[in-house]
Subunit: 291 residues, 2 copies
């Protein structure tokens, strides 16, 4: 897909965290020019400052389109964390106000509705929205165990149950993560996010409300079924490892080829040190790769 | 069902909270003698002390059966809160040790497995397990709005979505509660329990991660589909109201005829003061009452 506009600069709308930098590096390594559009309040100046960049506020669609045009971008990618903004925190420019009936509609649904709405708005501005898969496939977790620690048969049972749970929740557009310990679902992620959910498990364990022994239980992250893969992919990084270890879990599993890993070497080294496993598992319904 | 043994004393195994007292009052009001078996660490001495009572520790099945037999009980009811105990906290007597292969099996599944296991053990001891419905149906929330505050059409939309979510989660034996705000699922209860989940919403709101305005969103509690209705029914009370108000929600909905209300007058008065609604709604798949 990216071939068609392979030569033109890529507009990267950047939320928080290190992923925007990793995507830009991968794009630049392929000889294409990344143009960073940092979202104020979310993007890290140190991350986006390494490339050509502009700052935009949420809601400044008009400003973004002008700048992207001036930079000769024809494709656009969204990456990094941005929490669902409170409606009152949006600073709306005129272009966005014209789009308001659509914007309001996004906010009434779950995240998926919001995000596919954003893509529609972007495309109405003449830019094609691409995904990480199109420009930086090496940022995805591969299938198999990363590092030395292997999941046990019980862990694989927990992984299977969590994947089925996440798949079942698809129509409700809830979360991309759950924790299962020895067959028992102990947490389902919704608005709180993965980090908060893991901190909760550590707390419930202290309170005696999670009674699975330490070293039992798996964090599983997977895309929501049917979600637009150009946005909001499940991701892990060094911080995830720290919280999984703090929650006393055995390890974490993410879907191979659809979950992102930040600072892969550092993440895997942290997992080794904490004696937890990290495994890329096949998404339910995805056939094994032919080779 | 209760008619058969209507005259014999009823053994009530009491966890925490005020429900054991309310059930005993209802049983006594019908002219039947309640015998309270307080679970150490959970039952409130002031609640069970008003009737004939004994103390038992979790795992003391042998002691319980001896006492229940001496008291001429032929039926047994479980009521009140007891969290899934850590295996290491159980004090096992000989009768229980003989049952251990079964006990271990309960602990490997979710709560439903645990509870139907407990019923099986009780019945192997010659006692029939009854539910609140059999002895104190007046403790259930009736259908319709309790108090003055009415849910809006948006609230009913949120209620419907949450009921469907809870029904969908049935096979995973997760929780009995969820919070939906303007179509958006913001929390799903698992091991943390309702109170903790509501406290989380208050916190996420402070952090700006729940962006629905105050007064939008509903807590919904419903039994898990297929769960044994003799145990662990969804319940609400004055504390629930306090936390629903603290989470900035519009109100709460519970399934009529299958959710318990503690201190009904006090609960409804608190809801009025906090301007939140309380409504008993029909369970999905339950036909309207003929009359």
């Amino acid at each position: 897909m990216a071939e068609a506009s392979g030569g033109a600069p890529l507009a990267i709308i950047c939320g928080g965290g290190s992923f925007p930098g990793a995507v830009a590096d991968a794009v630049a390594a392929r000889g294409r020019r990344p143009v960073m559009f940092g979202i104020k309040g979310w993007a890290d100046p140190a991350v986006i400052g390494r490339y050509a960049h502009h700052w935009i506020a949420l809601g400044q669609a008009g400003r973004f389109f002008r700048l992207a045009k001036a930079e000769n971008c024809r494709e656009l990618l969204f990456i990094g964390s941005v929490l669902r903004p409170p409606l009152t925190a949006l600073r709306l420019d005129w272009h966005t106000i014209k789009l308001m009936p659509r914007v309001i509609r996004f906010f009434r649904g779950g995240d998926d509705t919001l995000l596919s709405g954003v893509a529609g708005v972007a495309e109405s501005g003449g830019l094609r929205v691409v995904g990480v898969k199109d420009v930086a496939p090496e940022l995805f977790v591969p299938e198999g165990v990363l590092g030395q620690r292997q999941p046990s048969p019980r862990d694989y049972g927990d992984i299977d149950r969590a994947l089925k749970l996440i798949a079942t929740l698809g129509p409700f557009d809830v979360g991309q993560a759950a924790v299962v310990a020895d067959g028992h679902v102990i947490a389902v992620e919704a608005a709180e996010g993965t980090d908060h959910m893991l901190a909760r498990i550590a707390e419930l364990r202290r309170l005696g409300r999670v009674t699975a022994p330490a070293g039992v239980g798996v964090l599983v992250k997977a895309p929501k079924p049917g979600q637009d893969r150009r946005f909001d992919l499940p991701s892990i990084g060094p911080r995830t490892i720290e919280l999984v270890a703090g929650a006393g879990l055995a390890g974490l599993a993410v879907t191979a080829g659809s979950a992102l890993i930040a600072e892969a070497e550092k993440t895997i080294a942290s997992a080794e040190r904490a004696s937890i496993f990290v495994v890329g598992v096949r998404e339910p319904g995805v056939a094994p790769r032919a080779q």
